[in-house]
């Protein structure tokens, strides 16, 4: 996987919980361009452990002078965002992946309807640059609990097609009103909590929107949980997965090669067979179907955990 070593040029607080990091090439060389909705994966080494979290790029996709990401501090997460908030300073070098995109705009659309919940605004910030350059019609609906939590607010233009829904101020988002009557060829994109993604998909289905016009990305990082053990079928090796470690990170630390891309349970690259399971896999991914999840024969090690007596991976 192609890696870039970039310098942290600037850290800006966008809200009490969200910081923006601007990353540039140490020699000032231009960075690869990307497309709206793309993300990078940041390496966060801590002792023997390398955590890797993916963050959406919020800067202009056509500007190779630097990449910008916005990171929300999750005090109850497994430490990735805390690392970014407390351990990374301006001038530091960070190892990141080249940009990848699992949430690109469908450029056949006649109109784009973008729906963001909370920190889910991030992929749309780069998409707005692309939509403006392509001159494609869109409307953005951005829901947040309060104005101080709406980190994207400072990065959004004040325009009539950008709608803010602040629940604390009583202006909740009405998905029925947003989706009903959209012109033919509209596509809807949702990024935010699972509940919002499901609510948009349900509302669109009720209005007979075809599924090809409904897009979403969950912005989750791997959740922490209780430690557990796994066995590698080919070698009989036993690994312990720490509370603040993902299974994928534990495999990487033990030099068990597993392919990966998004590290957020969306892309499917790290799908791994389960050869024995005595217990319950805690599936946190968006890749396996409900049937596949229930069968307990596959696991997405980037996100999912295990509770029980024995989990053996087909590796």
């Amino acid at each position: 996987m192609k890696k870039l070593t970039l310098r942290v040029a600037e850290i800006t607080a966008l809200s009490p919980l969200v910081k923006r990091f601007r990353l540039i090439h140490p020699d000032g060389a231009p960075l690869p361009l990307f497309s709206g909705g793309a993300h990078i994966t940041v390496d966060m080494p801590e002792g023997d452990l390398i955590r890797r979290n993916s963050y959406s790029l919020v800067s202009n996709p056509y500007d190779g002078a630097g990449y910008e990401i916005a990171v929300r501090r999750e005090d109850r997460g497994r430490g990735g965002s805390l690392y970014m908030h407390t351990r990374v300073s301006e001038g530091d070098l960070l190892t990141v992946s080249a940009p990848k995109n699992l949430f690109q705009l469908d450029l056949r659309a006649r109109k784009h309807v973008l729906i963001a919940g909370g920190i889910g605004i991030t992929p749309f910030l780069s998409q707005l640059h692309q939509l403006d350059i392509l001159q494609q019609p869109y409307e953005l609906h951005y829901a947040a609990h309060s104005r101080s939590e709406a980190a994207g607010l400072t990065l959004l233009p004040d325009a009539p097609h950008i709608h803010l829904h602040i629940s604390e101020e009583g202006s909740r988002m009405d998905l029925g009103a947003i989706l009903d009557g959209q012109p033919l060829g509209s596509h809807v994109y949702t990024c935010g909590p699972d509940g919002l993604i499901r609510a948009v998909a349900d509302q669109a289905a009720r209005l007979n929107w075809p599924t090809s016009a409904i897009h979403s990305e969950a912005f989750t990082a791997p959740p922490p949980g209780e430690p557990f053990e796994v066995t590698i079928a080919s070698t009989g090796q036993h690994l312990r997965v720490g509370a603040d470690q993902s299974l994928l990170e534990a495999l990487e630390a033990a030099h068990v090669p597993v392919d990966y891309s998004c590290r957020g349970g969306a892309c499917g690259r790290c799908e791994t067979g389960v050869s024995a399971c005595n217990g319950q896999i805690l599936h946190h991914d968006h890749w396996l179907s409900p049937d596949e999840q229930a069968s307990q024969t596959k696991i997405m090690p980037c996100m999912s955990r295990f509770k029980g007596a024995r989990l053996e991976l087909d590796l």
């Binding site: 989706l179 009557g181 033919l184 599924t211 016009a213």
Partner: protein, 200 residues
Amino acid sequence: MPTVEFSPSIDSRPTYAPLKSHGSAPAIMVADTAGADALLDLMASDSAVTDKAQIVLIAPASDKLARMDLMVKTPVHTTPDLDTAGPLVRQLLSTARMGTQMYLAGSEGMMGALCALATACGLPMDAIQTEHRGTAARRMQCVHCKGITEDVTTDPFECSHCGLTLFVRDHFSRRIGAFQGVCVDAETPGLIPTTQEIRP
């Protein structure tokens, strides 16, 4: 008319299935006279399917038009041919909203042309259902001169625009709504295989 059984082919070749009601969702329905039977079957399976439907029949036989008129509350639009149906369907699509379903029934050429028109107007493919009825004739695009020859029933056939003898391929362009015809004697000018009737 019985439904035509198509032989298995490459992925790009469109496949057809009986129309299934999407309930009372707004709909645009278009059929030729053979396809009108498929629309009548659809309406018989669920009368709500016509609640918010605009119906266009292309050159319908009078008995089919009369049966359709009895089934639906709104007037049925009729056009003498596909060329005149195009602007009418385009007009219906221009005021349609997301959630609109399209039901097409009849010949492959008509359905291919209207699918291409509808997707160009923004309607996603998965909002379009197609049921084949009637002729197995194909709408062919000459890959050399780009001209369209309608109602092709033989393989090879002569391009109605540039006159080349074209081999009938199963490669189908959804953007153009036509199968692709390729010069059959480019390597061996004049050596043309025996003309056969197109098999479905």
